[in-house]
């Protein structure tokens, strides 16, 4: 287990170097000059030159990259071009919203997806199975911006049950929970659908296994056969899907944050890209990559707890 964690950490370091280099280069060679955006439409050529000099944009690109990396290694992600706020601080103020939303969406996705998939599998070809499979397909296909807008239209504008947007109240308060419901459903739907499909197929495979027949032959009750003997075996591929989805959600979900006016990491990133705010783009991308690797490491650790055949020693 320690070996696995060390190994993943090493992978993470190499990955972050690679990603930061790619992002850095693509930002620098992409059209658009941060100075013109910072200076605004009235800036003269000499204003722009001064801004570029101040930001260090006149140095050779590789030198700029090494300067940046030197800072990152020391824990300094740099400062935003737009407002001089430190990038770590910008992320720290935005990340809690994204984290709340990601966790809430995952809860929605798991609570709907896992039971739906399992019931579909044990009642294969029943009306429940057919309708849940159809809904799952729809869930994967519906674009988030449309679903989000429809939910707002119905529950916020028409029925006025839930707020239109924002996510600023603490999540444990009633207001905070109300704010979370619609975005969590919007984001969780696609994940729920994926989890349902995966749970169904994994369960279908497991309930035909010989050891399930053994369990029945021992006199284990029908429900216990499913929820004790089959579920744990079926969970491995499902947890992989949950991990991947959670990784994506943690990276900020640009569209949903935009639709519900949530100041999360996704919005921070998209605003920074629009403003050619290189340090903020870099910082958020590195955050997303790190979280993705960490979540997948957690998934691997969970595997070992679920399935005794998996050992990392």
């Amino acid at each position: 287990m320690v070996g696995l964690i060390a190994n993943r950490f090493l992978q993470l370091v190499l990955l972050l170097f690679g990603i930061s280099f790619l992002v850095f280069m693509s930002m620098h060679f992409a059209p658009g000059d941060p100075a013109t955006i910072i200076g605004g439409p009235t800036a003269t050529e000499s204003d722009l030159a001064a801004i570029r000099a101040e930001l260090g944009l006149n140095d050779p690109v590789l030198l700029q990259y090494f300067d940046y990396i030197r800072g990152v290694v020391q824990g300094d992600l740099g400062y935003s071009f737009q407002n001089n706020q430190s990038v770590s601080e910008a992320i720290a103020t935005r990340f809690p919203q994204t984290l709340n939303l990601a966790i809430a969406s995952m809860v929605v996705a798991i609570l709907i997806g896992v039971p739906a998939g399992i019931i579909s599998a044990i009642k294969q070809n029943s009306w429940f199975d057919v309708s849940s499979t159809t809904i799952a397909l729809a869930g994967i296909s519906i674009p988030n911006f449309w679903l989000g807008a429809m939910l707002i239209l119905v529950f916020s504008v028409q029925l006025q049950w839930l707020p239109v947007g924002g996510l600023n109240a603490p999540f444990w308060s009633i207001e905070g929970m109300k704010q979370l419901i619609l975005p969590a459903i919007t984001l969780g739907t696609a994940s729920a659908a994926m989890i349902a499909r995966m749970s169904r197929s994994a369960m279908l495979e497991v309930i035909r296994a010989d050891y399930i027949r053994t369990a029945k032959a021992k006199g284990v009750k029908r429900n216990a056969v499913v929820w004790i003997h089959a579920l744990r075996n079926a969970m491995i591929p499902v947890i992989t899907v949950i991990g991947l989805n959670f990784g994506f959600l943690l990276g900020g979900t640009i569209i949903t944050e935009q639709v519900f006016a949530i100041n999360g990491v996704g919005r921070l990133m998209i605003d920074a890209i629009a403003a050619r705010d290189f340090p903020v783009v870099q910082g958020t991308v590195l955050l997303v990559a790190t979280l993705f690797v960490v979540v997948n490491l957690l998934v691997d650790i969970i595997y070992a707890f679920i399935d005794p055949r998996i050992s990392y020693d």
Binding site: D210, Y211, R213, T214, A217, G219
Partner: protein
């Protein structure tokens, strides 16, 4: 001898998209206390379905459409699922063909052995543990305390089958159903497992219903044999009768297809053709297309069971009158 299990005219059928097909077509037999009955036949002849019908473990599209199964005087086909569940793993237990996959990979051996005890007894935690250790000792696994904590993947095939047997014996069953328990094992391990089942049968006075396609296994453990072909019983008798004086052409074919090292000029004979599909309609005897003795009558009328001796019966027109064994032996020798 006291009759433990009595199956009478069992018909088991499966619903498919097109039609209802019969996998078991009117099978009757009985198993006495302390007796081993072997069901023999090719894959697909209905032997496993017969055992699953007794257990009440048919797949969702399968059902017992006719006949009765009585166990210790109680009719099983009329019982509700919950009542059947209380028999399973308790007084009727079953071991399966594939020891490698028959144990749940995510639970310890201890959990899996103690599970039937949890379900069917009121033993306390320590008593269950003691019983589990006792069972592992009984099936010849050394170091039972340690084995309890192991997972199936840490055991060999033979050890896993011993664990399966321990699980099936946990509640002292009166009837043990073994569906090809040694097919997936090495020959040396096979003999050990068969001896073990035989020993335990003697000690515990169980009735054993063993399914196999291996005539060697039959010779080793059976008291009586029942030969099945395409959903029908074609011959029954004691081991001695069936091996020394096989009366159905199919049984003869099965025996002729077993290698014999004692006879130097013994040549293996395969039975020509293949088992018919379950839904295939065959007029007359279902074996006639493959039978070297088929007569006109065989193509028209399905033969009843003819009694040959007190124990031996054959579903073959050749035995309509007193058979002359001389003539019927030639075709396979």
């Amino acid at each position: 001898m006291e009759t433990l299990l009595n199956v009478n005219n069992l018909v088991t059928s499966f619903r498919t998209a097109k039609e209802k097909i019969q996998a078991v077509r009117g099978v009757s037999f009985s198993v006495d206390k302390g007796e081993t009955l072997c069901i023999v036949g090719e894959s697909g002849c209905g032997k496993s379905i017969t055992t699953l019908s007794i257990m009440g473990l048919l797949p969702d599209n399968g059902e017992i459409s006719e006949g009765s199964i009585t166990f210790q005087g109680q009719e099983l086909t009329k019982k509700k699922e919950e009542e059947m569940r209380r028999h399973r793993g308790n007084d009727i237990s079953m071991i399966f063909q594939e020891p490698m996959t028959a144990l749940n990979p995510v639970f310890t051996v201890g959990y899996q052995i103690m599970e039937p005890l949890n379900l069917h007894t009121n033993l306390g935690k320590n008593e269950k543990r003691k019983r589990a250790v006792e069972l592992l000792n009984q099936v010849g696994l050394s170091n039972p305390e340690k084995t309890l904590k192991k997972y199936p993947h840490e055991l060999s095939g033979g050890m896993r089958q011993r664990v399966m047997i321990a699980i099936s014996l946990a509640c002292n069953p009166s009837l043990l159903i073994a569906d090809e328990p040694t097919t997936a094992l090495d020959v040396t391990i096979q003999a050990q497992i068969l001896d073990l089942i035989d020993d335990l049968k003697e000690k515990m006075g169980m009735g054993v219903l063993m399914v196999t396609h291996d005539m060697g296994v039959v010779a080793e453990v059976a008291d009586r044999v029942m030969v099945m072909y395409a959903g029908n019983v074609v011959e029954t008798g004691t081991v001695k009768e069936v091996f020394e004086n096989p009366s159905h052409p199919y049984t003869k074919g099965l025996l002729a297809s077993v290698p014999n090292v004692d006879e130097e000029d013994h040549s293996l004979e395969a039975i020509p053709g293949t088992l018919p599909n379950l839904n295939e309609k065959i007029a007359g005897c279902r074996f006639h297309p493959r039978c070297p003795y088929a007569m006109d009558k065989c193509r028209k009328e399905d033969p009843p069971h003819f009694r040959i001796t007190d124990q031996q019966q054959s579903k073959c027109w050749l035995h309509e009158e007193v058979p002359s064994h001389e003539s019927t032996h030639k075709a396979y020798s």
